[in-house]
């Protein structure tokens, strides 16, 4: 929600804190602030209003009221505290089909207006909110919504058929297959014809039963205000939050009006909105109100809630006096009636989120300041149970890592498998894996060529993870363990099985159980859930040290290039020393030097090293690496090594 600082000042007055101070106040007492931007002359604060406060804070008055609650001040001008004085009219009639879904409907007739551009101050405020000014009437409806949170819509009364001396509004469910034409959405040129399912609520011209808008969501072109309009009807109604949400989401329309209904702005708001808009329009477009019709079928009042100071302190970890709590609650606009050991509280009518005791306790905590809560570490107690899956996973990890296996976590999604998702992220991620084997094979394929780069002799990996299957009437899952080996870069080799057999034997020894398994091309997978459930219940975890904060280095996605160098050196020469000499001459492209071979003959030692080159920026060529190797050979010779 974008908020114009100067607009807040209308309500807070000259004592308004600066935009920066408001950011700080809201951050620690109410909402996160995304930032402050200067648009034209205006400072605009981007406030992340929380879902539970979207009933009352998606408007300037709401944010101003919030600031006043925090600072303990009173608004100098509060549109929601003004007495509503609306003249009645029988020129407008309204017929509502479902009074639960549309519990309130108000409409005002304003005549003698002149449609023109809005005054500059109003245009500037709308522009600061990222809105495009249209004309003074349409702008006024938007302005009042951003001011107090009630969506409104204006119709040209002369284009709206008047039957038997009155304008007849209707609110009814759509018929299945009925089409309504909606005004083009922001950024789009063309109006949108929408085919309805029959669950949506329509506002209609009752005289002809013509849909004129999708209730709570969007209006149509029907009786649109233009430069010749002199007589208007302004509608402000209340529509059910869930229904609005279903309709809006179903059609993929999320606009400012629907957002406010979805979050259940108060149904007490419409007459206040009428009062505001009549004042604004008669001010900027002239004319006069001919009266308002207000149908209110389902009143919904905030409940009386018992709030116990002792409970509040117990939950917040504070020790506030009851009088302090009373003063905080009153600051927020809550009606507080004091009793011996509790208050009876009623939230301000514009807030629909004040329904149970903790709602009020939260207000006490955040307005007082959550920074006043002191830390208490809970008493140490003994563990009541151990997680066998974790305990035995750790044993498996220890065993396999000792044998040179690295642990991977691969995607739970598959292109094809038994369990399908209803809404996949991508066509190759439409299913859930039923086994880990495929992921392990992919991992081996992908990594088998990296042995030189990683300085390993072969590729060994394992994964412990959840796999999914269909059951009679649900989706079942268990934890699987899979491991695999690849000694050659070009694919499976029967020799790979030897390492897998050894690993399984080591696991059987470690876990003290025989594990039924079937090795397929040096990959094996077992049902780990079944296995650990058959093992003894663990009694204590092995201690774990916190790992050091190593600095991870992003790896290059480009292929590595390998060069070997062999040389005779004097017997007794330190291999590390030779490696260091080579490293010093191999330059930045050399990412690894591995000592691969050594033998002695006739008082001399032959050493072989493998140099791996890789660039972060591109695929290396011989032209880049050859000169580096020439330097390495030269430096080796200069050091007295006899290269071969």
């Amino acid at each position: 929600m974008l908020v114009v600082h100067n607009w807040l000042k209308d309500y807070i007055g000259d004592s308004i804190p600066s935009a920066k101070e408001i950011e700080e106040l809201l951050m620690f007492h109410s909402f996160e602030v995304e930032g402050i931007e200067k648009i034209g002359e205006h400072e605009v604060i981007d406030v992340d209003v929380l879902p539970n406060r979207s009933s009352d804070c998606l408007c300037h008055r709401g944010i101003a009221r919030e600031i006043a609650s925090i600072t303990g001040t009173t608004l100098v001008n509060d549109p929601l505290q003004k007495e509503v004085q609306l003249q009645e009219t029988d020129l407008i009639s309204v017929d509502i089909e479902d009074k639960e879904m549309c519990p309130r409907f108000t409409a005002s007739l304003i005549t003698g207006i002149q449609v023109k551009e809005s005054p500059q101050w109003l245009q500037d405020r709308l522009v600061a909110l990222g809105q495009r000014p249209i004309n003074n009437i349409v702008d006024a409806t938007n302005y009042v919504m951003y001011a107090i949170g009630q969506p409104l819509h204006a119709y040209d009364a002369e284009k709206f058929p008047q039957v038997d001396g009155s304008w007849k509004f209707g609110v009814r469910y759509a018929k299945e297959g009925e089409v309504v034409s909606l005004i083009a959405e922001g950024g789009k040129d063309e109006d949108r014809d929408v085919v309805l399912k029959g669950t949506e609520l329509l506002i209609v011209d009752q005289s002809s039963n013509t849909p004129i808008g999708l209730a709570g969501v969007k209006g149509g072109r029907f009786a649109g205000v233009d430069e010749n309009t002199t007589k208007i009807i302004v509608e402000a109604a209340h529509f059910d939050a869930s229904l609005t949400r279903k309709t809006a989401r179903g059609l993929g329309i999320v606009i400012d009006a629907s957002k406010r209904f979805e979050n259940e702005c108060s149904r007490e708001l419409p007459p206040y909105a009428q009062q505001e808009i009549i004042a604004l329009i008669t001010d900027i477009a002239g004319g006069a109100s001919e009266g308002t019709v207000d149908l209110y079928f389902q009143k919904k009042e905030n409940p009386e809630v018992i709030v116990r100071p002792a409970t509040a302190n117990a939950l917040l970890g504070l020790s506030l006096e009851a009088s302090e709590m009373e003063s905080i609650l009153s600051r927020v606009g809550i009606t507080v009636t004091k009793n011996a050991d509790h208050f009876v509280c009623v939230g301000p009518w514009e807030r629909t989120d004040m329904n149970i005791e903790v709602d009020f306790i939260e207000e006490i905590g955040r307005v007082h300041g959550l920074n006043h809560i002191d830390s208490v570490v809970p008493d140490t107690v003994a563990l009541t149970e151990l997680n066998a899956r974790h305990y035995y996973s750790e044993q498996v990890r220890d065993t396999l890592i000792e044998l040179g296996f690295s642990e991977v976590i691969t995607s739970s999604f598959r292109k094809k498998d038994k369990v399908k998702l209803r809404n996949a992220l991508a066509s190759d991620k439409g299913c859930l894996r039923s086994s880990l084997t495929k992921g392990i094979i992919d991992t081996l394929d992908k990594n088998a060529g990296f042995t030189d780069l990683l300085g390993t002799t072969d590729t060994r990996v394992f994964e412990i993870g959840t796999v999914f299957h269909k059951t009679e009437e649900s989706i079942g899952e268990y934890v699987a363990l899979s491991l695999g080996v690849r000694t050659k870069a070009n694919g499976y080799n029967p020799k790979d099985d030897v390492q897998v057999i050894a690993a399984m034997e080591a696991l059987e020894t470690k876990l003290g159980a025989s594990i039924t398994h079937d090795i397929q091309k040096a990959v094996v997978e077992i049902n780990f859930t079944e296995l650990f459930e058959s093992l003894p219940v663990p009694t204590a975890y092995e201690p774990v040290e916190v790992a050091e904060e190593i600095a991870y280095t992003p790896f290059s996605v480009y292929p590595a290039m390998t060069r070997d160098i062999a040389m005779w050196v004097q017997q007794g020469v330190d291999i590390a020393e030779v490696s260091k000499v080579l490293a010093g001459s191999a330059g930045e492209l050399c990412v690894r030097i591995t000592h691969v071979d050594a033998f002695s003959k006739d008082g001399r030692t032959s050493l072989a090293f493998r140099l791996v080159f890789q660039s972060m920026d591109d695929t290396l060529t011989d032209e880049q690496v050859n000169p580096v190797m020439d330097t390495v050979y030269q430096v080796a010779k200069d050091a007295g090594y006899e290269t071969r």
Binding site: R366, V381, F555
Partner: protein, 238 residues
């Protein structure tokens, strides 16, 4: 034989478990394919409530399941499952994989790991939440950590808070700045009631954070997707 490498996520989960086990938090788990009942209803997400928009959910096909099911969007359903099957006092952590149907980039993966924490007993208050989180981070980052609360909203807690942490007097690159780390709050009475616990007798706190994000903080990982590709050029650095 050269040793292999442990994946940083399971390494961190082991560390997390070790730190919390010392103060009596049980390592609990639950299914990754979860019922909507546990993923949403039991956690005070009313049907059609905007709060469900906060999470982009993967749904399983209705023809496959008698009860509506999703890939869990958070580890929080385990709170409800554990409270249903255990009498308070309850102290649990739930590290595990969760899923969100959202476009992936260097800071978002459709699958990631979360750490849930829950402590329900007589007299549990927000000070315990603060103390527990400070205790955890001080151990995890091996230094003195201070945390602060900011108001927030999650359907399953009230009051709800966002937690920032600051590592003090340390050489770490994380030191001396506030870092947003998790959402938390006091367990909503509706959640306690739905799990058969009387909120008039018991209270509790719950917290949830991304373990992947912890990995980003601790190791400076530049792309969270690397955690799930099985690429040893990544794993072997740990």
């Amino acid at each position: 034989m050269q040793k292999g490498h442990q994946h940083p996520l399971t390494q961190m989960i082991s560390e997390i478990n070790s730190i919390f086990a010392e103060i009596g938090f049980v390592f609990a788990e639950g299914p990754e394919a979860e019922t909507e009942h546990y993923n949403f209803d039991q956690l005070n997400f009313p049907p059609d409530h905007p709060a469900r928009d906060m999470q982009d959910t993967f749904f399983l096909r209705s023809e496959d399941t008698k009860e509506p099911m999703v890939l869990r969007t958070h580890t929080s359903p385990v709170q409800a499952r554990f409270m249903e099957s255990h009498e308070p006092p309850v102290r649990v952590i739930v590290p595990g994989k969760v899923f969100r149907n959202e476009a992936t980039d260097a800071t978002h993966e459709a699958q990631f790991h979360q750490l849930e924490g829950l402590y329900v007993d007589k007299g549990v208050h927000m000070g315990h939440l603060k103390g527990t989180i400070e205790h955890f981070f001080s151990k995890f980052f091996a230094g003195e950590v201070e945390v602060r609360f900011r108001p927030s909203f999650f359907p399953f807690v009230e009051p709800g808070v966002e937690i920032d942490m600051m590592l003090k007097e340390s050489d770490s690159k994380l030191a001396n700045k506030w870092i947003e780390v998790m959402g938390a709050g006091m367990v909503h009475p509706n959640v306690l009631k739905a799990s058969g616990i009387d909120p008039e007798v018991y209270s509790g706190f719950a917290f949830g954070m991304g373990i992947d994000r912890l990995a980003v903080m601790k190791y400076g990982i530049n792309d969270v997707r690397d955690l799930y590709t099985g690429d040893l050029r990544f794993v072997n650095q740990f």
